[in-house]
């Protein structure tokens, strides 16, 4: 019982995180807490196999999938929390609270009698007991889950797969295209300069410098530009370097 009263509030708090978290990552973390908490409750309730499966499948596999997808679609591609459907939040809250209260009160009314406990069922071990059932009376359902999983995998592949609609361009075609672009729009046919060329640093956030000392556009990844994390480059950088290394320019040496 002690375990329950410790774990249960945690679970509820974490689950509320699902409702209120701004970022999907935080919600996912909340869900992970809930799942682990539930795993603990399974263990408390004489279900060690499910405890393990809960940890492995849910927390290990499913939650990871969630996190992957969150990464894939962008951590920041969160959706505004402002409700667009009028009354939806209020209605959801009212109905939710009403529903919850109703169920909880209903459950509270119940008297289920003494708990039988699983001592007898688990006498040869919990896993053994489950296996008896799974490969006994429920073997057909088990087979169906296999089919279901295969179908799900195939479905996921179909959904995630993108059909190539045009033939792959050959090297020659690519080159021709590049020169055509240069002729038509003046786009540079070569590789764009990598960050740090002729610059003070070769870090990824420092733009390459053109011969006149100005930064070359397109040499820094767009994401850094968007975030404003590009190093400031001014023309007197060169002079600054000279000053720092304590040497004057070669022209001055001649003086």
């Amino acid at each position: 019982m002690t375990t329950f009263w410790i774990v249960a509030p945690l679970i509820v708090l974490a689950s509320l995180g699902l409702l209120f978290a701004r970022k999907a990552v935080h919600a996912a973390l909340g869900l992970a807490v809930v799942m682990i908490g539930l795993a603990v409750l399974y263990a408390v309730q004489d279900a060690p196999f499910l405890f393990a499966v809960q940890i492995i499948v849910y927390t290990g596999a499913i939650m990871m999938l969630f996190l992957f997808v969150v990464m894939l679609v962008g951590v920041d591609s969160g959706v505004s929390l402002r409700e667009t459907l009028s009354g939806q939040k209020v209605a959801a809250a009212v109905v939710g609270i009403g529903f919850g209260l109703l169920l909880v009160l209903g459950v509270a009314q119940l008297s289920l009698g003494p708990v039988t406990g699983l001592a007898e069922a688990n006498q040869h071990g919990n896993v053994y007991g489950l296996a008896e059932l799974m490969f006994g009376p429920f073997v057909l359902a088990f087979q169906f889950t296999a089919a279901l999983l295969v179908t799900a995998v195939l479905g996921a592949m179909v959904l995630a797969h993108r059909e190539r609609l045009t033939p792959r361009s050959s090297q020659a075609e690519l080159a021709a295209q590049r020169l055509r672009d240069y002729a038509e729009s003046g786009k540079h046919p070569g590789n764009p300069p990598t960050p740090g060329v002729f610059a003070r640093h070769n870090a990824v956030d420092s733009p390459a410098l053109l011969p006149d000392g100005s930064p070359a556009p397109g040499s820094v990844p767009d994401s850094l530009v968007d975030r404003g994390q590009v190093l400031d480059v001014t023309t007197d950088d060169v002079d600054d370097v000279h000053r720092q290394i304590g040497r004057r320019g070669e022209g001055e040496d001649e003086k």
């Binding site: 939710g96 609270i97 919990n126 889950t145 279901l148 999983l149």
Partner: protein, 97 residues
Amino acid sequence: MNEYLALSMILFTIGAVGVLVRRNAIIVFMCVELMLNATNLALVSFSRQHGNLDGQLAAFFVMVVAAAEVVVGLAIIVSIHRARRSVSVDDAHLLNL
């Protein structure tokens, strides 16, 4: 016993409300998972109440189905995101004429 069930109900309700109010498809999905887990808890509790393992087995099957569902569901989300650059469930309202 009742407290387990009550917890299960609360989690289920929270999950359901989450489905209603969140617009991020991923979070909506998580809420669905939460609801599934809530029922699992109830199943496991009843298993103990009745002293047989049928409930636990049912919970196991739910987990399998949930896994399959998540795989497909997330794939759908990804492909929608690829097509529409959005994961808001409200953007997919083509049912409206």
